[in-house]
Symmetry: C2
Subunit: 207 residues, 2 copies
């Protein structure tokens, strides 16, 4: 479930540069926009085609079904996200800088978060999607585990590494989840405190 192997893609990707590729991307882009604006329940073949400026029949021609459209959206989304996370935490900068960068993403990535959370809500009731969502979560967890192992040691934290990672992931997910409902109470205060707390650690230790 959270092992390392990448699940097989839904379909072999089209040859880049072909007209197929650009139309497909138009559909996937449109799907993301619609997930942000109306949610997954409001995305039908016709609505999607209209948003993409394409013919409704092409949805079936390219993807076979609406379910596959969302699978492809999730696939493309995953690639981009994991790559960026891995790059960021892998950079050769002090941990607190990585943390601040991550918290900056937490703020500017709001549109993408809506896409991602709509896909997850959809996955609650679709085993096919669930598996992939769990895989992405596992990837993310792996990145954080690697990134937090060092700092945890240096700071002398007693919390087990997997518990620490679970805590960080969960409270981030919880904050994003709340914000999707327009709730931000205490978020800023919490992030400020964490930042200050990390700063005191970083002050005492050399990196």
């Amino acid at each position: 479930m959270t092992d390392g192997r990448t699940p097989a893609p839904v379909r072999p990707g089209p040859a880049p540069g072909s007209p197929r590729a650009s139309t497909e991307e138009a559909f996937l882009d449109a799907a993301e926009r619609l997930l942000i604006t109306v949610g997954y329940a409001g995305v039908s073949t016709r609505v999607l085609a209209d948003e993409a400026g394409a013919n409704p029949g092409l949805v079936h021609y390219y993807f076979g079904s609406m379910d596959n459209v969302f699978l492809r959206v999730l696939e493309r989304f995953t690639e981009r996200l994991i790559a960026r996370q891995r790059e960021m935490y892998g950079a050769d900068i002090p941990f607190i800088e990585k943390w601040r960068q991550a918290m900056h993403y937490l703020d500017v990535d709001r549109p993408y978060q809506k896409v991602w959370y709509e896909l997850q809500a959809m996955a609650w009731n679709k085993p096919e999607l669930r598996e992939r969502v769990a895989w992405v979560n596992g990837q993310w967890r792996a990145v954080l585990t690697e990134a937090f192992a060092g700092p945890r040691e240096r700071y002398g934290l007693t919390m087990p590494l997997d518990a620490l990672v679970a805590l960080v992931m969960a409270f981030n997910e919880g904050m994003i989840f709340e914000r999707l409902a327009g709730i931000e109470s205490g978020h800023a205060a919490l992030l400020e405190w964490i930042d200050a707390w990390l700063a005191t650690w970083e002050q005492g230790a050399s990196e």
Copy 2:
């Protein structure tokens, strides 16, 4: 948004004992079951009526629209939940006992959590629901703020109270959110560590 006033009910509740009341409850019960099993996108008037064992026309007769059905589900759900939380944290027992009780609920309440999270996912795209979801969240936050003020003082925590409450709420919501996708990595380790950590505090202090 998160102020104290209760939002006006969608409709005046039916007189208890009338046939109306029992049929309405049958619909609301059926709606909850369907939210658990198929998600909000799969609940139509006919599916709902079938699950409730009633005539499809009654959905319109009783609720006026499907949107109102979900609003009523949220209303009824809210009353029950807030009442229990308030009672639990208000009880005259050591804080760690309350915490353990809450973590026990976190485990046994999974069906209700699915209902609650489906409603929230629905609310992301429906301002009418969003407002009520935010109100419930505010109620919950108020309960936790009251419950954590004392222990925070006693334990001498430096984290501001609103940040502490935000942290507890967010990481709980995040864990529930993950579990809905079948993810539990690190959850047990985290909860165990917190429990042990609280126990050391409770050992030193009297209460």
